[in-house]
């Protein structure tokens, strides 16, 4: 047990230590300065601008920035959909896979374009290597970059001293890909291979086992996709069991590194923020609010999982730890991760919108399972998805400033800019859009008889958890699942013959993902545009400070209040009912 806490403490310490250097580096990238990779990638960068016919440095106002972003995402949606539809004629398809049904493809396309990586398919039984590499992994890069450039635009809007320009979308995109995501991925992929993550294009291998049986081992270019899956907080597994599968995550060390990859950009961006607005304390204030909420969740899920579940106790299993045994709830956990690494993973992937899994959530204890629910209920602002987490959190910051301003009876002001009616309307829309989408879609899916066939666990709290979580996860662009819920019925057999999609579930989910990704992005860019043109007034004695513990407390309070008021009743009906009743269903 002490060993588990030690591992968690080491992880937090390393994360903390990386926040400043990574944040500083990203700030240089976003302010278009030279970085140590410029000699290597500079020529490629200039070639890319010429190929794209982009004039670097040409600023865009928020509407132009948003338009470029939307056109780019729309075209990529079409491209990915076409790739997924044409599996039968693709190269790099040693297993001869055909395409999944159109409705599943619609869901998957929407899922990867929006950085969600919700998966109504099993990778190794559905996807060609071509689809994985040229389709899904490309989106792991690109959708992550889109999230990052949006927060960069918002930061520029907040920091702007004059003008209405938020930067150039194409330039931000290229620099993010070239100087941040690609180099870390290259190094990370090779490290993962050295630790046992596979990277090949072979046919699945038939093994004659020690006892004379056969075992077919799925292969593929896993490491190159695994690394960006984590770094871009995407989460879509190459294999169906995601990062639980040893070929994706073979050891305690790879687990540690993959978790760091997930959090390093979201944490670093808070430092980048402080740098770009000219006050590191502002960045650390936001980091602190996130960190507090994160550590609390890690502790709850770890302590909960150290105890077994009601089903295990009823079966007479001794769930205490003793010499040579981890004890605790080991259902759905692999031995090399045990309780602590599985618990830490659960918290990390649900505070961020990563959605990668090394232990299925449906097998968590009731209280342990309430943690992923809570984080998603807080709209992924605790570190959150790359870029998306910070821009959502900044909306909450503006909301907290507004509420604080009302409390002390002054015009709310953030970093010298007055928060007016237009801004606060846009902020409220941005904050409320995702929770509203969740409640509406989960409500519809719970009520519609046609959606029942998607539920695995039946009509009970676990089944309700599956439904609610499915739409929480898709609307928050997380992608993890209360795993039984499905939109793709596939016999448990190799190959995807005979599989069919559940149109209602696939389409509803796809629409939810697209809506809850791009609508908030538009609100955020509109807020950025509105703030960019504002005059800065010097801070006076009466100005509410936004870089001290009082403000951090207020911010955490606002985040919890909005999330709790929205989702508490629903979460009670699912995991908490399981955790408190102890009844078996």
């Amino acid at each position: 047990m002490a060993q588990g806490w030690l591992q968690i403490a080491i992880f937090l310490a390393v994360l903390l230590a990386l926040t400043k250097p990574v944040g500083l580096y990203m700030a240089r990238v976003f302010t278009n300065q030279r970085v140590f990779l410029t000699p290597v990638f500079g020529p490629i960068e200039r070639f890319t601008y010429r190929a794209l016919r982009v004039r670097p440095g040409e600023g865009q106002d928020w509407k132009a920035y948003a338009r470029s972003l939307l056109v780019f995402s729309l075209l990529f949606w079409v491209a990915l959909y076409l790739i997924l539809r044409t599996q039968g004629v693709q190269p790099f398809n040693p297993q001869g896979f055909h395409s999944a049904p159109w409705d599943v493809n619609f869901n998957t396309t929407s899922s990867f374009i929006t950085n969600t990586n919700w998966q109504y398919y099993g990778g190794e039984t559905t996807m060609t290597y071509f689809s994985q590499m040229a389709g899904l992994a490309v989106q792991n890069f690109v959708s992550a970059a889109v999230g990052i450039v949006v927060v960069v635009a918002l930061i520029r809007g907040i920091a702007a001293r004059s003008g209405r320009e938020l930067g150039n979308f194409w330039q931000d995109l290229v620099r993010t890909l070239l100087y941040i995501l690609l180099p870390i991925s290259i190094v990370g992929a090779l490290f993962l291979v050295s630790q046992g993550v596979i990277q090949n294009l072979s046919h699945y291998q038939v093994i004659h086992t020690l006892t004379g049986g056969t075992q077919v081992l799925a292969q593929g270019p896993v490491a190159s996709q695994e690394v960006i899956k984590e770094l871009g907080t995407n989460g879509g597994g190459f294999f169906n069991v995601n990062s639980a599968y040893p070929f994706e995550n073979p050891s305690g060390l790879t687990n540690f590194v993959e978790l760091l990859l997930i959090l390093v950009i979201p944490a670093g961006l808070t430092y980048t923020y402080g740098r770009m607005v000219g006050s590191q304390r502002q960045g650390w204030a936001i980091f602190s609010a996130m960190f507090v909420l994160f550590v609390a969740g890690v502790a709850v899920v770890y302590i909960a999982e150290m105890h077994g579940s009601p089903a295990q106790h009823a079966a007479g299993l001794n769930t205490h730890a003793f010499a040579g045994s981890t004890g605790g709830n080991m259902v759905g956990k692999d031995q090399r991760f045990g309780i602590s690494d599985s618990a830490l993973w659960t918290a990390v992937t649900t505070v961020t919108s990563c959605g990668a899994v090394n232990a299925p959530f449906e097998s968590l204890t009731g209280i342990g399972g309430a943690v992923p629910f809570t984080y998603l209920g807080l709209s992924e602002v605790v570190f959150g998805g790359v870029g998306a987490g910070l821009y959502s959190m900044l909306l909450y910051v503006l909301l907290a400033v507004f509420i604080g301003g009302l409390m002390v009876g002054r015009t709310p002001e953030y970093l010298g800019k007055k928060i007016g009616a237009r801004e606060i309307k846009l902020v409220s829309l941005g904050v409320l859009f995702t929770p509203l989408t969740v409640l509406l879609s989960a409500g519809v899916a719970s009520a519609a008889p046609i959606a029942k066939q998607s539920i695995y666990a039946g009509v009970n709290p676990t089944g309700f958890s599956e439904t609610l979580y499915a739409y929480l996860s898709q609307a928050n662009n997380n992608g993890s699942a209360w795993a039984g819920y499905t939109g793709f019925v596939q016999p448990h057999a190799p190959g995807n013959a005979g599989a069919y999609g559940l149109s209602f579930t696939d389409l509803l989910g796809g629409i939810v993902m697209i809506g809850a990704r791009f609508a908030p992005i538009l609100f955020v860019l509109a807020v950025a545009g509105a703030l960019a043109g504002k005059k800065v007034s010097p801070a006076g004695l009466g100005t509410m400070r936004t870089d001290n513990p009082t403000f951090v407390f207020l911010l955490v309070g606002v985040v919890i209040l909005v999330g709790a008021l929205t989702f508490f009743p629903a979460i009670l009906l699912g995991p908490v009912a399981n955790g408190l009743s102890g009844r078996l269903f």
């Binding site: 040229a134 004659h208 050891s251």
Partner: protein, 202 residues
């Protein structure tokens, strides 16, 4: 200067189209194929699945568990997929599932019944959790040290080896925590069973 549908068609659309093609080629083909090439050159063993052999023949991957039946082998953990390496899925038993209770109860009884005939002092309370619960991956290559020590009595008896010898083999195939602190220690079942075969007996 940026306004209007004309700008969209003249500037954004062509740029986006080129970007889609360029990024797909660079990030979707050049990057993974380059990584594959380097991996195959520098880490061919790992890149192709960390295979292990017995008697000159590949019998599996040290990272992917296998199902072992019969009294002369160490047994792996229960699996939702019967150790499938090409169609993986989670067990998905909820914490309050009656089905799960029944499954664990049955596995617990079977485990105690099998091992108790070789170690009279074994009680239900001594059975470690990993021995009767389904793993996440369905192909967990490891079992806990406690689980291996209980099974050692059976292996020693069936293979006519001394208990001490079996325990030495267990220690030799126990993977410690990464860097001494990360993860949990576990005993690699396939490698241990290969070592048993090499040690003879049974």
């Amino acid at each position: 200067m940026y306004g209007g549908i004309g700008y969209l068609i003249r500037r954004d659309l062509p740029t986006a189209l080129i970007a889609v093609v360029l990024f797909t080629v660079v990030l979707g083909l050049a990057y993974p194929l380059a990584i594959t090439g380097i991996a195959q050159l520098v880490f061919p063993g790992q890149a192709n699945g960390s295979k292990v052999s017995f008697d000159g023949k590949v019998v599996g991957s040290k990272l992917i568990g296998q199902e072992f039946k019969g009294r002369s082998y160490f047994h792996s953990r229960p699996s939702a997929t019967e150790y499938s390496g090409d169609a993986t899925f989670f067990g998905n038993a909820g914490p309050n599932s009656a089905e799960e209770r029944d499954a664990i109860r049955a596995r617990l009884a079977a485990y105690v019944k099998l091992e108790k005939s070789y170690d009279r002092s074994l009680t239900r309370e001594q059975v470690p959790v990993d021995a009767v619960t389904e793993s996440a991956s369905g192909v967990d290559p490891q079992i806990s040290e406690a689980n291996a020590r209980i099974q050692a009595h059976r292996i020693a008896a069936v293979r006519h080896l001394s208990l001490a010898k079996v325990e030495v083999l267990i220690s030799a195939h126990t993977d410690g925590r990464s860097l001494g602190v990360l993860g949990e220690p576990g005993v690699n079942v396939l490698q241990l069973n290969i070592a048993l075969e090499e040690a003879g007996g049974g």
